[in-house]
């Protein structure tokens, strides 16, 4: 009797149970989609922001500054930083130009040396100053075979065998 009642109840409840199941599956799909979409949007937004930042770090994208803003060196694009560096080098060169240095030396009481005032000393191992080197000379890049790690040369099985052997040796050395 009880079984009959239970089956009757289950039968009568079956339609809405089925609906709940369908709704549940639908909501699950919806939530999953929303999570995936959310992650996608988040990543996309971050990628976009980074891309824009990279662009702005490279060049002044829209080309011009307003008179009402002063660019800070912290957010200058690379192009303008290079201009700034070149400008600073020129300013430094002005401050150390021959005329300026000559005037400073004279104001400190120095004067040009006459040949007969020069005293020459022979110093063992003295190396005369060499003209400026602003960058290394071009030389071919030679990758020495000896410099490449064994892992990149030996076959996989050989490496595996070696690792096993090393591990075994390690355990073999363990003293009680």
């Amino acid at each position: 009797m009880d079984n009959v009642q239970r089956m009757t109840q289950a039968y009568s409840q079956a339609p809405w149970r089925k609906q709940v199941q369908i709704i549940g599956i639908f909501l699950l799909a919806l939530v999953t989609t929303a999570i995936v979409a959310g992650i996608y949007l988040n990543i996309t937004a971050r990628t976009t922001t980074m891309g824009r930042e990279i662009q702005e770090m490279q060049i002044l994208v829209y080309g011009y500054h307003s008179l009402f803003t002063t660019p800070q060196s912290g957010n200058m694009p690379v192009e303008e930083l290079r201009q700034d560096i070149a400008n600073l080098q020129a300013q430094l060169a002005y401050l150390t130009s021959y005329e300026v240095m000559d005037a400073r030396a004279r104001s400190l009481g120095f004067r040009p040396t006459e040949p007969d005032e020069m005293v020459y000393l022979e110093i063992e191992g003295y190396v005369a100053p060499q003209p400026v080197t602003l960058a290394p000379p071009p030389s071919p890049v030679v990758v020495s075979a000896a410099g490449v790690s064994d892992e990149f040369n030996e076959p996989l099985f050989s490496w595996l065998a070696d690792q096993i052997e090393q591990t075994a040796r390690l355990f073999g050395e363990v003293k009680p």
């Binding site: 662009q55 011009y64 307003s66 008179l67 201009q83 070149a86 080098q89 040949p115």
Partner: protein, 595 residues
Amino acid sequence: MKNEHTWRYTMLGVLFGLIGFMIIVQVFRLPYTPQAEAIVNEGKLYERTWHIYYPPRGQIYDRWGSLLAGNTLVYEVGVQVGALQNAETVAFALARVLSTHPEYNYADFYTDLLDVMEAAEESGRAYTQLADFVTPEELAQLKQWAESYDDLPAVPYGDTKQPSLVGLVYRPRLKRVYPEEALAANILGFVNRDGDGLFGVEQQFNNLLAGTPTGVWMTLDPYRVDEIPEMEEGSDLVLTIDREIQAAVEHVLDNALETSGAEGGTILVMDPNTGEILAMASWPRMDPNVYWDYAKFFPENQPYNRAVSTEYEPGSVFKVLTMAAALDSGAVTPDTVFTDTGMFQIGGIYIYNWNYGAWGPQDMGGCMQHSLNVCLAWVASQMGATNFYEYMQAFGIGHRTGIDLAAEAYGRLKLPGDSDWYEADLGTNSFGQGVAVTPVQMLAAISALANEGEMVMPHVVRSIVRDGYQYNPAPQVVGMPISAETARILSEMLADSLEEEASDALIEGYRVAGKTGTAEIPGPFGYESDLTNASFVGWGPVEDPQFLVYVWLEKPTSSPWGSVVAAPVFRQVVEQLVVLMDLPPDAVRAMMGSE
């Protein structure tokens, strides 16, 4: 009950179905409508921006790394037409701030600015440039003006709109600058308003220095950021010039011009072993930072650098080459005696000495010491024309030296067979008349005497720095016109000559070899003028030459003679050189060598 509502549900279902269907249809239809195409096209205008990238022009250094030519910030100023609020204020402010700017300090600048802005507005342009090469100081003033206008109260201004500089924008860029000002200006040349190198190193290496200004469409799509292209930057140059020596030599030249009354001149200092030019002073000389004054300093297209672009008759310094050729060919020996009767006939003309005197028996050293035209003409005749001119060509006379500076002149050496060559030319050419050279050509030719017979190519660029590497081109020996022995014999002969005549070129403690030159100046109808070009070429220390100096003064008025005006200048240069190059006196070097 159930059947009663079925049709309603059905109708609702159909309705929503229809709406859904229409939405789907529209989704697929809308992208292909003309309106959509227009919107897409308009959108494309904003997906990228045109950007002109000006790579910094390569810098130029002296041999020790002092900056001779660099770059400084200037600004391009313009208006974004759409944002412009008051064109009159913008024009007024710019005209006032730029009133001392060399390019914009003219009366109609204000009205010109208004015209430019009006034209831009009418043509629908988004941006128009109003001024360029605005200095940082001028830009700072503009910013102050902008802030002042911004602080004005917002009251009605009637027909005249509220004063404002809104819409005025700027963009930084680089301009060539020469921190040493006029120092080495003739070597460097300058860069004009358009960014083109003119004269000197700037012109010769323009392509290398300038990099490649490139206009590119920069994408604004953040996902395509990797498409922004890498731009090629300008290369840096390290010159062979020594700033200290250059300054000293320019100072000596300027003093020499003042005391001698010469119109112009040049002094060259070269390392005869490598061909490296250590200094190249020339007058006239201007500050390349104010290149627009070029015409004031160089009227009527005068050469910018006399050392490489001026052709002239060298006079007696040329005798050094004649004697070198004669000794090397075996036509004479140092002991050959020539009896100077005061005249020598060749090709139907008579050759006379500088004082029209007869000097009697002279060995070759005596001929050089007294600078005897008659003797040298005889020497050339002993060699024969073919032999003589082969040697002169081997010395590079009449050819460019190949120096790495712009606008090098050729000079002129008439050769047998040329329509304007006569036998008499052999006689006059032997002592430097009827032949045209440049100072740097003489320097290169005479380097053979100071460098064991090997002639080196003079050059001013020591290194090129490109893509993070420094390239040092090797010095070039361009020929060996005479033997090492001949070079040594002639050096000794000339050093003895200077000592015997107690020349003003002698420097205490250092043995030098050299020769004076006094050249008459040819005009359209011959040598009519009393004016001369005075010169001196010398090198030392004779035992191991470290410097070769050529002095050339154009039309000195204090004295016409090279021995009087040019020889002391050589001495003054060498007195500075031995200090700046750390060259001990001969005695000290001999002592160090013997230890």
